[in-house]
Amino acid sequence: MTPKNNILIGIIIALLVVASYNVDANPIDFVEGLPNLVVVLDEMVQVEPKYIPTAIWAMFETIQMAFIGTVVGIAIALPLSMLAARNLNSKFVYAPIRAFLAAIRTFPSILWALLFVIMVGSGAFAGVLAIIMYTIGFIAKLQYEVIETIDSDPMDAVGSIGVSKVQLITYVVIPESASHLLSQMLYMFDYNIRQTSILGLVGAGGIGFYIINYIKFFEYGKAAIFMIVVLVTVLIIDWISVKIRDKYIIKSQHGMEVKTK
């Protein structure tokens, strides 16, 4: 280990101590607080099964919110990503679009939800709008980055036939970036379900609304049922998306032999 590294590690440790002091992060408080967790867990274990249908219905609403948000968000994000790609547009087109997308991404979804609760009132619709905004910012960025890294040779070769830009996008850019897009869609849907689960914290609908209210009234047993439903749902969605990924994405990216009919 060089002296330079030692100095760097020393600086990081010093910063950690100062920052911990500033935010009152005291390990002793953590240890002293552990018994409280036991109390909560003890109450959580006393689950009340009669709330399961409500929890499943709330989760269903959450999934629908995430679904609408993801689909509409991606539908808006795709044309924007085409406009934001540097290899398809002039600076005057992509620069403002990129600035707009960066501005959208600045806000986490919960802040968007707050904003939309103010705009359209509390409820699921505000949550859907928040998810749409977040999805636009996120997918458009991922997608324009994919477009910028696709092989330029097919674009040059097909471009030299003298096709229009719309044709180039439809017939070369989209097929070349499609496998990435499918993977991103799955990831986004997965992510949006988890996000939507907490949007209820600010009154934007979904299962989070129940969880936050039960916790507020110290009804940990009821909250636990809702949290377990979220957990199970996320695991199932994760499992499904892994299956889809294996079937369609891995093969097309690595050029593995696919059985033809």
């Binding site: 097919p154 070769a157 097909v158 030299s160 036939i161 003298g162 439809t170 070349e176 050029g255």
Partner: protein
């Protein structure tokens, strides 16, 4: 109108119905100091098989890119069928539809099928609505199937391109170019990575198409033997300059540029360079 323009530029001497490609003192540079091509003069007869041979980095690929408007010269005049190849030249933009260009990397779209790749060659003939909804007219599909048969890919129409072998991929690239109903076919080192047998199969295929469709094939090669075997004329490029223009007549290699070199001298000269 184009002819009037040319005569105003006093370059009408370039016009010839026999010549499809004419280059006069063409220079190109990637930066202001280094020239990729230096003072190239070239004239290619309509309906012939023309080869450009030279070592790596000699400027062969650049020469092809000048012919389809992907590059413009920093100096000199180029006419492709009387038209200056430039993207912003409307007349040339239309002409691009009938210039088939196969880059060294082939430029195929990997994730779509063989027939979908080939149909890309017909895109300029589609209406806006057809193109937007990916609705290729029946006659184009029939034509694509005919070409698939011609290049020997029958039964592989629906295969994804990434599943094909090197030789098959080249057939797809040729088929896409033929789908353009080309008058000129440009191919950049299309056989250089293939084994000898496959290379010859591909060369036969292009030569047949060139003869039956009466198109002008301009191919860049690394291998002088192969070029001489198939081409009517071979231009040898070295360090951005055209040093020879030769062709096979009977048992002899004829030097059309200086006219005073023997077959042996020419072959020795090339093997020194390569």
């Amino acid at each position: 109108m184009n002819q009037i323009q040319m005569s105003q530029n006093s370059s009408f001497s370039l016009i010839s119905t026999k010549k499809i490609i004419q280059m006069s003192d063409v220079w190109t540079s990637y930066d202001s100091k280094n020239f990729a091509l230096e003072g190239i003069n070239l004239s290619i007869d309509r309906g012939t098989n023309y080869s450009i041979v030279g070592p790596s980095g000699s400027g062969k690929s650049t020469l092809l890119k000048l012919m389809n408007g992907m590059m413009i010269p920093s100096k000199g005049i180029i006419k492709i069928d009387y038209v200056t190849p430039q993207m912003n030249n409307k007349k040339f933009k239309k002409m691009m539809h009938t210039i088939g260009y196969i880059p060294q990397s082939l430029g195929l779209v990997k994730n779509i099928s063989v027939i979908e790749n080939i149909l890309l060659g017909s895109l300029p003939r589609l209406t806006k609505v057809q193109s937007l909804f990916k609705k290729f007219p029946e006659n184009e599909i029939t034509e694509a199937k005919r070409i698939i048969k011609l290049v020997g890919l029958s039964g592989k129409e629906e295969r994804k391109v990434y599943m094909l072998s090197g030789g098959e991929k080249r057939r797809v690239a040729i088929a896409r170019a033929l789908m353009q109903k080309p008058t000129i076919l440009l191919a950049d080192e299309i056989v250089s990575e293939l084994d000898n047998v496959t290379a010859r199969e591909i060369m036969e295929l292009i030569t047949d198409a060139q003869k039956t469709m009466n198109l002008t094939a301009i191919m860049v090669h690394h291998d002088m033997q192969l070029a001489l075997e198939y081409a009517n004329r071979v231009a040898v490029i070295k360090e951005g300059k055209k040093i020879l223009e030769i062709g096979v007549e009977g048992d002899n290699i004829v030097d059309f540029q200086t006219g005073d070199m023997t077959t042996q001298e020419i072959m020795e000269m090339y093997s020194d360079d390569a």
